[in-house]
């Protein structure tokens, strides 16, 4: 049995899944509740603290207002009436006596206030034990006018509460004095006359404030306008310290900030946090100003105590959650166990079952749920399987018996198959040979090599007295036998027309079908009407002809022949068919190869023509440029030499006329020199003219392009210039003669050319022809009859003109130079070397035609001009 990985067990997965989900949901709920409770408690607290602070401040203000009323009312009474000292004292005593909070009251006049003629400047009434006593200060005796309680209200012109102070005389009671300035209307003006004061004991304040208790350690305190502590639970601090000095001592910037805001009259409710100086606890502080005297009340709330109830609540919740979670976990485990335990038992049984123990006992599960059903189904399956296996066992025994008899039969059939295999191997061998032959044949590109290769291979596979390969020549309508072998001898090539219907090869090529005869004498009539004599070799009896087909073209015929009758079977036909296929491909390749070679050759020719044309064009420009530059100086040479000829002639005449004055010897000497001079100048003139004619020839290159094209009859033009050349030559040399043959194509319509330029070409070439035959005539004398042939031919889109002479011809090594400018074979002075170069320009550049030359040295030279018709 396999060891189950507890992490993978179904129950673990269930437990984990349910428990995790419940945990996450519960956590979310708890966090939410805690947040809401916290916010509610906080806002309640804030409201409470505001109420507490405000009500305390209100109470303080109520008392202070009540106290204030006494001096306020009294001051109005004094201002509106004139009282004597005695009356004033009575008033003060009444005020002190009727107000518990007021400890003493005083009135103090300005030193210059003389209206009452008082002898006292200050009257002071105060409580002493149960009695009310009076203290007076004589005028000029007591300088109360310099005291704060006097000066400040006087300057401010309004009533004022003093800062708290200890009254030492009364045993450290904290006091504060309320001072009211007194005015009187004197001579229509409101004039300050003195100050009325009421001293207030602050014991009651201490009681009001110290009553406030917040939780365990919270407390309230009050500070005066300058930050002095007026009340505080710690009595030692009262009047001795200010909030700022505490802040400095304890390095608490929080307290300093709070103190500043408090004395500035600010208020805040449980929003400002600070660490309690005494306990170090985080606290919130609420404060509000006592507006009447500018003091401020502060209440300190320890945060941990505030939130203690909330934290308790949270703790209880956590504990409940943990207990609930544990209970949940236990329940889940129990449920999942109850589900997976029968499953595990079933799985164990199934495993045993799978090992082949079909009688394994299944767990007894009585529940009606899915697991119960599964167990029941399994039980049914177990029983069915047991039965089936028993049946199988029986069938197997029967089968074993039967197989024993079968073995004998199989052995017999195997022997038969082995024999057939041997035959197949042999056939395969033939196929291999054939494919090898195919590869061998098709790898050749040369026709002769292909033919030999085919023959060699046919010999290996097929008995043939005679073997033929023929090629169809569609152009000439011929079937050409390229290979003909009889009994190992190669017979000469032969051919016959494709119209010769009594040839098996013609039938075969035409019908694209094999000719297969095993007795020619009796069966020939299936294909041909009468037997022709073989072109080579003897008559044969058995023949196979097969067409060589590439794509849809018959390119030839292959044939094997035998002198014996019935020499060939269908198998031979098949073999030859294969060879025919390869041969056809190989021959087609060879043809294609030839075509490519031809195209390549033509391409190279075209390329060299192009190069030649480019060379000519640039040379033409160059020569034109040079010619122009040379022409000017040349003109001077010619002009001045001509002049010099005339001058030397004149000089000679002059000497002649003056000869009697000179001695004979001198005259002869001068004449001799003059004759030489004249001769030299004439030479200069001759050579100058020669150079001039070269330059003129050169200039013709550039001028050739400027002609206008017009419809011209080529035949007429050619004939005209043929005559001109002939007569021109005869004019130079009367012994010159030659035979002229003309062959003009009458279908030639006039074509667009520049007639003066084309005629120049004709004249150049014709002149050269005349010159060449004349030179040859000089060498060969009578044994040579000069001939000049000219012909025209109308090709589809162009005209071809041929001019051929049977003169000296052009040597092969200079054949490609004849069109170069300045190239000439004529002796110096006879030719400029520009005639053919110019002609080339005219034909190729101007007329977009071609100028070619064919020649054999000593035999002939032929110039072929082609001009396109559409120019």
């Amino acid at each position: 049995m396999r060891i189950r990985d507890p992490r993978r067990s179904l129950s673990t997965k269930m437990i984990l899944f349910i428990f995790l989900n419940v945990f996450i949901i519960t956590t979310i709920i708890f966090v939410y509740i805690y947040k809401v409770s916290h916010d509610t408690i906080y806002s309640n607290l804030k409201e409470n603290s505001r109420l507490l602070t405000q009500s305390t401040v209100n109470e303080v203000e109520k008392i202070l207002t009540a106290v204030q009323k006494v001096p306020d009312n009294l001051s109005q009474v004094i201002e509106t009436n004139n009282f004597s000292n005695f009356e004033l004292e009575k008033l003060l005593k009444m005020a002190v006596g009727t107000n518990n909070e007021i400890y003493g009251a005083a009135i103090s006049f300005e030193p210059d206030y003389k209206d009452l003629a008082n002898k006292y400047s200050t009257i002071y009434v105060f409580k002493d034990a149960d009695k009310i006593k009076t203290d007076v200060v004589e005028a000029d005796d007591y300088n109360s006018h310099m005291m704060d309680w006097y000066l400040i209200p006087k300057e401010l012109q309004r009533p004022l509460w003093s800062e708290p102070y200890f009254d030492e005389g009364l045993g450290n009671i904290v006091m504060s004095t309320y001072s009211v300035p007194l005015y009187k209307i004197v001579e229509g003006k409101r004039k300050f006359i003195g100050i009325l004061t009421a001293d207030l004991s602050l014991n009651w304040l201490q009681q009001i404030v110290s009553v406030i208790k917040v939780y365990e350690t919270g407390y309230a305190f009050m500070i005066s306008r300058n930050g002095s502590l007026v009340t505080h639970p710690n009595k030692e601090l009262i009047m001795n310290t200010t909030v700022f000095s505490i802040a400095e001592e304890t390095h608490s910037p929080q307290l300093r900030t709070i103190g500043r805001d408090m004395i500035a009259g600010g208020s805040s409710f449980a929003e400002v946090e600070y660490h309690n100086v005494a306990t170090g606890k985080l606290s919130w502080i609420s404060y509000a100003p006592v507006k009447i005297n500018g003091w401020s009340l502060g209440i300190v709330y320890p945060v941990d105590e505030l939130l203690a109830s909330l934290n308790n609540l949270f703790k209880i919740v956590i504990i409940l959650a943990v207990i609930g979670g544990l209970i949940l976990l236990i329940v889940i485990i129990l449920i999942s166990r109850s589900i997976t335990s029968p499953l595990r038992k079933l799985a164990f049984a199934t495993e045993r079952f799978g090992e082949g123990k079909f009688d394994v006992e299944l767990p007894k599960i009585k529940t009606k749920d899915e697991i119960g059903e599964l167990t029941h189904s399994f039980l049914v399956m177990q029983n069915t399987l047991k039965q089936t296996i028993d049946e199988l066992r029986k069938a197997n025994e029967e089968l074993e018996e039967y197989s024993k008899t079968l073995e004998d039969k199989v052995e017999l059939r195997t022997t038969e198959l082995r024999n057939k295999n041997l035959l197949l191997d042999r056939a395969l061998e033939n196929v291999k040979t054939l494919s090898e032959i195919g590869r061998h044949i098709t790898s050749k590109l040369n026709m002769e090599a292909i033919l030999n290769s085919v023959y060699e291979n046919v010999n290996r596979l097929l008995d043939a007295n005679s073997f033929l390969i023929m090629v169809v020549n569609e152009k000439e309508q011929l079937i050409e036998c390229k290979l003909s072998i009889e009994d190992g001898r190669r017979l000469p090539e032969f051919s016959f027309s494709t119209t010769d219907k009594n040839r098996f090869a013609v039938w075969c090529a035409e019908n694209r079908k094999p000719v297969f005869i095993n007795d020619v004498d009796t069966e020939y009539s299936k294909y041909i009407t009468s037997r022709s004599k073989p072109k080579a070799g003897q008559y044969v009896s058995s023949i196979i002809y097969l067409p060589l087909i590439v794509g849809d073209r018959v390119i030839g015929v292959i044939s094997a022949q035998s002198f014996k009758k019935n020499a060939y079977t269908e198998a031979h036909l098949d073999i030859l068919k294969n060879i025919a296929n390869y041969t056809a491909i190989a021959l087609e390749n060879a043809f294609a190869y030839d075509r490519i070679n031809l195209a390549n050759k033509e391409l190279k020719e075209a390329q060299s023509q192009l190069i030649q044309a480019e060379k000519m064009a640039s040379l033409g420009q160059l020569t034109a440029g040079i010619a122009h530059e040379i022409k000017n100086p040349l003109n001077f040479i010619n002009n001045f030499s001509e002049l010099s000829i005339d001058l030397s002639k004149e000089l000679l005449e002059e000497i002649e006329s003056q000869s009697e004055r000179l001695d004979v010897k001198t005259v002869d000497y001068i004449k001799e020199i003059l004759t030489d001079l004249s001769h030299n100048v004439r030479k200069i003139n001759d050579h100058g003219k020669r150079a001039d004619s070269i330059v003129k020839g050169m200039l013709l290159h550039s001028r050739g392009k400027s002609g206008e094209k017009q419809k011209t009859n080529i035949n007429d033009l050619l004939h005209e210039y043929l005559n001109l050349a002939y007569h021109g030559f005869r004019a130079q040399d009367s012994t010159f003669n030659l035979k002229m043959e003309t062959n003009y194509d009458a279908t030639l319509e006039p074509i667009n050319i520049v007639p003066q330029n084309i005629s120049r070409v004709f004249l150049n070439i014709l002149n050269n022809g005349c010159y060449s035959v004349n030179e040859k005539k000089k060498e060969k004398k009578d044994s040579f009859s000069p001939l000049l042939q000219v012909s025209t031919k109308n090709l589809d889109d162009k005209v071809e003109i041929r001019i051929k002479d049977n003169g000296k011809g052009i040597p092969n090594d200079i054949l490609d130079k004849v069109f170069n400018p300045f190239f000439t074979t004529k002796p110096t002075g006879k030719g400029t070397g520009l005639g053919l170069s110019l002609s080339y320009d005219i034909i190729v550049q101007e007329h977009k035609g071609e100028l070619k030359v064919n020649s054999e040295q000593g035999e002939f030279a032929e110039f072929i001009i082609t001009i396109p018709k559409n120019l």
């Binding site: 122009h628 022409k631 000017n632 003109n635 002009n639 400027s706």
Partner: protein, 125 residues
Amino acid sequence: MIRIMVVDDERDVESLFRQKFRKEMRDGLIDFHFKFSGEDALEYLDTANAADLVLILSDINMPGITGIELLRILKEKYAHLKVFMITAYDDKEKYEKAIQYGAEEYFIKPIDFEMLKKEIFSIIN
């Protein structure tokens, strides 16, 4: 006496003309004045000496003002002057231009002096 001005940037032209027309000059029939650029020629034409000039022979290819340009100016400003163009260029385009601007004759170098003499005398008559 015919006064002729020859304009050509080739200075040897002077020597050539003086020799070719030696006889006519000696006989007082013709007097030649030579200038070697179009600019010089135009400058001279503005002086009093130029008053009795009858004919101008001008080359075409010259640095600065070309012969064709000179011809155009001459025919515009000095309509009474006859002008023969003499050039080494047997060029259809230049020939047509010269005729268009009113040149009386157009000679191609090398100059046929016999012909030139004939034309000069025919102008006078």
